[in-house]
């Protein structure tokens, strides 16, 4: 068991490394052309005149930096060694010509994505106007929408699920609607919501609400309807009131099923918010992906996609932990 876990971990890592190296190989062989810029003797002279050594000028031009860039570096008044020991020219705001070329000509390599990611991770909440906000802000918006829609769905679905689960009559009456409404793509509601609510923020919350409600409703009704007869008999022989039976016996008995429904719901909600935000625009992780695509910032787009996956994982993990707390063994 334990040995298997370790093996699985090692295997996962191997797969990741293989995947990343293949990706890196495919993206660098075709596009990585860090061509050295050629420089006229007059230009070299200008630069050495500003106090930069000839060897440094050659090294920078071999890196693919243009005359203007090297000129700016020369303006710093530091040697190449000093700059390198301070973190390289990148930390002074320069990008090498090769890297710039790479990002524009082809699919980004893992190293580029990583460079982009490390920048974003250490400064997730920057805000430079409506179309340039940090990934943290984008996530904040998306998560707020998901949570609001999700909580509203809980408020409606759980009591309704109790009603449906406890009463076969209500179950039969409501079931046809659930069956028809459930397969409708939540995005199909978006135009309706936009027309009725006339607010894109609330419309996206409505879409989350409507997609979260079905798994919770169905699971709650199922959990409540399938509480063991024995436990209900206990409640009856103890003359518990209907409310007490609902809260002290049925709720704890059905809680794992209800929470499983919530877990499914939050997964769907996280899938749907990305699509909804692409349509609605403004701010949010889904719109961010779309916006980066439009600006051809592919590295940043890929980073955002990875972030979507990780956040989804965290949401699922959180509900999985909550489930473990209320789960019981028979």
């Amino acid at each position: 068991m334990n040995r298997n876990n370790i093996l699985a971990g090692v295997l996962s890592l191997v797969l990741l490394v293989v995947f990343l190296s293949v990706w890196q190989m495919l993206t660098t062989t075709t596009t990585h052309v860090a061509a050295a810029t050629s420089m006229s003797p007059a230009e070299v002279e200008t630069l050495t005149g500003k106090g930069m050594s000839g060897a440094d000028v050659e090294a920078y031009s071999a890196d693919g930096l243009t005359f203007d860039q090297i000129d700016q570096i020369a303006g710093l008044g530091l040697t190449r060694d000093e700059i390198n020991s301070a973190g390289g020219i990148q930390s002074f705001g320069f990008t090498t010509g090769g890297a710039a070329e790479e990002a524009q000509t082809g699919f980004p390599s893992p190293t580029q994505v990583w460079r982009e990611a490390s920048e974003q991770i250490f400064n997730p909440f920057y805000d430079r106007g409506p179309n340039d906000k940090g990934i943290g802000i984008q996530l904040q918006y998306s998560l707020m929408r998901v949570m609001t829609g999700f909580v509203l769905a809980i408020i409606v679905a759980v009591p309704l699920g109790f009603l449906v689960g406890m009463s076969p009559l209500w179950n039969a009456a409501i079931n046809p609607y659930v069956q028809v409404l459930k397969p409708i793509s939540p995005l199909a509601w978006l135009p309706v919501a936009l027309f009725l609510i006339k607010d894109s923020e609330q419309a996206s919350i409505f879409v989350i609400f409507i997609c979260s409600i079905w798994p919770m409703l169905i699971n709650t009704a199922f959990g409540v309807a399938n509480v063991k007869e024995d436990w209900l008999n206990i409640a009856k022989t103890l003359e518990l009131s209907r409310m007490k039976t609902a809260f002290r016996v049925i709720l704890p008995a059905a809680a794992p099923t209800i929470l499983t429904g919530m877990r499914i719901s939050i997964g769907i909600a996280w899938l749907v918010i990305v699509a909804a935000e692409m349509v609605i625009g403004g701010v949010g992780i889904g719109y961010y992906v779309w916006n980066e695509w439009n600006g051809l910032n592919l590295a940043s787009m890929i980073f955002a996609i990875v972030v979507i996956g990780v956040v989804g994982l965290i949401l699922d993990f959180a509900l999985g932990q909550a489930l473990r707390l209320i789960e019981y063994k028979e």
Binding site: W231, I234, T237, L238, E239, P252, A253, K329
Partner: protein, 303 residues
């Protein structure tokens, strides 16, 4: 205060049959009385409706005809005047052993303080020989311990009447034996009226004051009530040496093997004279109100 705490009169239960207008009669005109403080077991083959009778006493099922009086009040639903021990322990799996008993105690005496409730529960848990592992959930307890908690929960309600539906059915023979001892102990300490369903003849003889023998269904009935006059306190080891133990045992087994089938469907029963046993047999055992032998059920010592 009447001598009899439970009166079941002309109980009948039937279900609609497969064809229209047809009825499956499980049992009809079942009559019996339970004396205050009496331990009565009921034995019969599967399908004779003994669990249904218990559920009717508990108020969990309604009889098709007839009715039950407990302490002079008609049973029209489950209630806190009767405690039930179910076949498969029926503990709430998300509560610990102690909490399961507390839960019941709190339902009966909502005005009690937390401390009072816990002490009360602990007293009954220790009567059922449970002093350790009380904070464990049912799944972490052995089958025997679970059933002990179930019994403690029922006795903790301090009801006059306890109903037990094959409480030891799922346990192995050794565990069963030790819990039987505990049941005897807790019952002699509290002297409540117990009505218990069992499949185990030795268990029935060990525990009971009287044993109801049921004929096979459909149209089952209580054919006989065997009085077990082996003096108490009884214990598993000595009881088999009591003269007459095997007579009672053989009589019951003979009934279950042979006569439960022959008598099936008849409301009346065989003449008592034909039964050869050393125990006292009562028939009608304060049983059949139709033939007038209700309250003073004539007891006959058989040679």
């Amino acid at each position: 205060m009447s001598e009899y705490i439970v009166r079941a009169d002309l109980l009948g239960k039937s279900f609609p049959g497969p064809k229209r207008g047809e009825e499956n009669i499980v049992f009809e005109s079942v009559n019996f009385r339970l004396k205050r403080g009496e331990f009565v077991t009921c034995i019969g083959h599967s399908g004779c409706g003994k669990s249904t009778i218990l559920n009717i006493l508990a108020g969990l099922e309604k009889p098709t005809s007839g009715g039950v009086l407990v302490d002079g009040k008609e049973v029209d639903g489950p209630g806190l005047d009767r405690a039930v021990v179910f076949q498969n322990h029926s503990l709430l799996p998300w509560l610990s052993a102690q909490d399961n008993v507390d839960f019941a105690v709190r339902a009966k005496w909502p005005e009690w303080t937390e401390k009072h409730v816990e002490e009360h529960s602990r007293r009954y848990l220790s009567l059922a020989s449970l002093t350790e592992g009380l904070d464990r959930k049912p799944h972490a307890l052995s089958g025997g311990m679970r059933q002990r908690v179930g019994i403690a929960r029922a006795f903790a309600l301090e009801t006059e009447v306890l109903l037990m539906d094959e409480p030891f059915g799922a346990l192995d023979a050794l565990t069963r034996g030790s819990i039987q001892d505990e049941l005897i102990k807790i019952w002699s300490d509290t002297r409540k009226t117990v009505f218990m369903i069992t499949h185990d003849v030795d268990e029935a003889i060990l525990l009971s004051d009287r044993i109801f023998l049921m004929t096979n269904g459909p149209k089952a009935n209580i054919a006989e009530a065997v009085v077990v006059d082996i003096p108490r306190p009884r214990n598993r080891g000595d009881i088999i040496h009591y003269p007459g133990y095997y007579d009672i045992r053989n009589h019951i087994i003979d009934f279950l093997v042979q006569r439960s089938k022959e008598l099936s469907g008849s409301v009346r029963t065989v003449p008592v004279e034909e039964i050869k046993t050393a125990g006292k047999l009562v028939y009608p055992p304060d049983v059949n109100p139709l033939n007038g032998a209700i309250e003073n059920g004539s007891e006959r010592k058989l040679a």
